[in-house]
């Protein structure tokens, strides 16, 4: 590797060639402010906040997009740099809805913290914002163009990483703006509501539809039994909201925190994940044995469902008919559990804590009311839960570890790994293998399907029947598998697709600024959770076994079909 030596603020630095000035400065211990720059994304160089002086250069250079040269002399702080950075941010503020107190990003806004860091205490530029309508057309995401700084981070996410291609720049010069589809509201633009845009937006131009007040109202209403379920991915990300390191497992604290908030039953979506494996595993066996549509594709991820319904509706018969764990939980909580505690479904309020914005849409789908009422009343994101914990004055870091409640809080390691890409596949294989062969698995770890590689493959021998499986995460990778299926070139029997990069641990409702490095940490943590569980196979979950004995009968029974399975619609965009 060739290296380059340059001087930054009088300090000699040696870095690999083609390193940006920004990264070289980081190595020298200098933190240049940025805005449009985001790890893992293309270099955009459009905000100019990171400008520096390069000796011999007529103009200031954007340090994110300028590679280092041998002998280059860079000044990251000077009168020119200070004035330029300030002016740039002041101009942005002058075209920004500056109502910061009533903004969802107050305190976590990158524009706000830039203004603070650059010590901007007044703005010579008058605010010239022409307010545009706020897009509240979907139950998942709010898009407020009046907050947008046109950094392009959401565009990069939507066009390059996800390749759904909804958000893009339109118009020109001072009129330029980020639009969705043909200048439409998100509901009309073919958006799949994955919310990845909202995890990279530095301001409040696109964010989750906050429904915390609905949950408070239910909690404060003493006539309601308020049940909470929490998705596998939350236990490895919620700690980040309280300044703990990415990869911190906060399982017991999470249960304790939910109990302190006033939820009557603190349950676990991992239980429903185990239940999903029972249904989906048996559905796969049924399709293999009876010539059903193969490959079968998982159906846990609502962003993925939104994608296939709108863009590949011809492939809908490949989808497993299983509801997602969130929805299975809702219908079981309001039927089986309701009977157990002697309440009617309408007296129960089910809240789910999800790493996901598309879950809000899923829970509101009209068919998701098999208990007779809406099965899941509100789906909150990780970020909203953190907001509630802060609101209630709970010191999350000081919480003791508490268990989840029984019976719907009992789960296995197989349920936990649903949160990571490859996890549903691995959990399904653990169960399907043992059900088919009647043997105990020699090793529970299917490591081929783990990790951040875009598409992963594995083969499993089930009593002399070879089953080929594939796993994709992120829509760009999913598309590759879908094209193979369309062209009849997919030699797989079972495919797991997760909408978000990394799976649910990288979901659109997770803490802001999720990077690939953070995804790796959360994945590592979720396999630690799995390893630490006394039970690691879904079919060994005693609460799931009891549910079948007392209520459902067996997997794929009539009752299971009614409560745990669903149908999909062709919503071709």
């Amino acid at each position: 590797m060739n290296t380059v030596t340059l001087t930054i603020d009088g300090q000699k630095v040696t870095v690999p060639e083609n390193t940006s000035i920004l990264d070289a400065a980081k190595k020298a211990g200098i933190d240049i402010p940025t805005l449009c720059y985001f790890p893992d994304q293309n270099i955009k160089g459009n905000c100019r906040v990171c400008v520096v002086e390069v000796e011999g250069s007529r103009t200031l250079a954007a340090s994110c997009s300028t590679p280092v040269n041998e002998g280059m002399a860079v000044k990251t702080w000077s009168k020119n740099v200070m004035n330029a950075r300030r002016t740039i941010v002041q101009l942005m503020l002058a075209d920004h809805d500056e109502d910061c107190n009533e903004c969802v990003k107050n305190g976590v806004c990158e524009l706000q913290s830039l203004a603070q860091r650059l010590n901007i205490q007044h703005n010579p530029f008058k605010n010239i914002l022409k307010p545009k309508p706020i897009d509240t057309s979907t139950p998942s995401l709010i898009r407020n163009p009046n907050k947008c700084v046109k950094c392009g981070r959401c565009v990069d996410m939507c066009q390059e990483t996800q390749q759904v291609g909804i958000l893009f720049d339109a118009y020109r010069g001072a009129d330029s703006e980020i639009v969705s589809g043909l200048g439409k509201y998100l509901s009309d633009a073919g958006c799949i509501l994955c919310g990845q845009c909202s995890t990279v937006c530095p301001v409040a131009a696109i964010y989750e539809n906050d429904e915390t007040d609905k949950v408070w109202q239910a909690i404060f209403d003493t006539s309601k039994r308020v049940i909470v379920q929490t998705a596998p991915a939350i236990r490895v990300s919620i700690a980040e909201e309280f300044d703990m390191l990415p990869g911190t497992v906060a399982l017991g604290q999470l249960a304790a925190g939910l109990r302190r908030l006033g939820f009557d039953d603190v349950f676990d979506t991992d239980f429903a994940a185990d239940l999903t494996i029972m249904e989906e595993g048996h559905e796969l066996l049924d399709r293999l044995q009876h010539g059903g549509m193969l490959p079968m594709i998982t159906s846990c991820s609502p962003g993925w469902i939104n994608f296939i319904e709108q863009y590949y509706p011809d492939l809908l018969p490949h989808l497993s008919t299983c509801k997602s764990p969130q929805q299975m939980f809702g219908s079981i909580a309001k039927t089986y559990y309701a009977q157990k505690i002697g309440l009617k479904p309408e007296d129960i309020f089910v809240v789910s804590i999800m790493p996901c914005t598309a879950k809000k849409y899923e829970s509101g789908r009209p068919e998701m009311n098999d208990s007779g009422v809406r099965d899941v009343d509100v789906a909150l994101t990780t970020r909203e839960l953190a907001r509630m914990i802060r609101q209630a004055g709970i010191d999350f870091t000081a919480l003791p570890e508490e268990p989840f409640d029984e019976p719907l809080g009992i789960s296995t390691g197989a349920g936990a790994i649903f949160g990571a890409t490859g996890g549903v596949m691995e959990a399904a294989l653990r169960t399907v293998y043992e059900v088919v062969t009647g043997n105990t698995l020699p090793s529970l770890d299917f490591t081929d399907v783990r990790g951040l590689k875009g598409i992963k493959e594995a083969s499993v021998d089930l009593d002399d029947v070879k089953v080929n499986v594939a796993v994709a995460h992120g829509i760009a990778n999913a598309k590759k598998l879908l094209e193979l299926i369309r062209n009849g070139a997919a030699d797989y029997q079972f495919i797991e697709i997760m909408c978000c990069p990394g799976g649910c641990i990288g979901g659109g409702g997770q803490p802001y600024r999720t990077t690939n490095a953070i995804r790796q940490q959360r994945i590592k943590a979720i396999y630690e959770v799995d390893k630490a569980m006394p039970l690691r196979k879904s079919h060994e979950n005693p609460a799931v076994q009891a549910l079948y004995e007392e209520f459902l009968g067996r997997p794929l029974s009539e009752k299971s079909h009614h409560l745990l399975h669903t149908t999909y619609s062709n919503r071709q965009h």
Binding site: Q159, G165, F168, D169, S180
Partner: protein, 150 residues
């Protein structure tokens, strides 16, 4: 129609601008309808947002229906110093519309244009591709009545 135009250019992303131009020129209202953009997106396999981005970036594309005759008045410096504002006012008064609007009979649309390259005949305008120079009130009246008789 859209399909024919696309086939004549070939299904390629880099043909987007000529395809959109041909579609716009192929209809009496000289614009790109939402349906046109959707078809182009689907047939070329380009996200709608990207087609929209190109169609809104270039001023020669219109997403609003326009008149049979598009009057583009140059508003660059040489035309302005030679009385382009009077020309603009004359057109507006005679047609009873503002810049960017179309007459209710669907005949005329008024637009600004960048330099048309005939500064020696400033103030100038281009009407449906044809150049008109040394414009004054009399000339404008006769141009418009000629066009109306066509």
């Amino acid at each position: 129609m859209v399909e024919e135009i696309i086939n004549s250019h070939g299904i390629a992303e880099d043909k987007l601008v000529p395809i959109l131009l041909d579609i716009q020129n192929s209809n009496d209202k000289h614009y790109l309808s939402e349906d046109d953009l959707k078809q182009v997106s689907r047939l070329l396999g380009i996200p709608e947002s990207r087609v929209y981005s190109v169609a809104t970036f270039y001023s020669f594309f219109s997403l609003q229906p326009r008149g049979k005759y598009i009057i583009q008045i140059c508003d660059n410096a040489p035309c302005i110093v030679n009385g382009a504002y009077n020309v603009i006012d004359d057109f507006r008064h005679i047609l009873g519309i503002d810049m960017g609007q179309t007459t209710p009979d669907g005949l005329f649309t008024l637009e600004y244009s960048s330099c048309l390259g005939c500064c020696s005949h400033a103030p100038a305008a281009r009407i449906s591709g044809e150049l008109y120079g040394d414009l004054d009130s009399e000339k404008i009246k006769s141009i418009l009545s000629d066009l109306r008789r066509r």
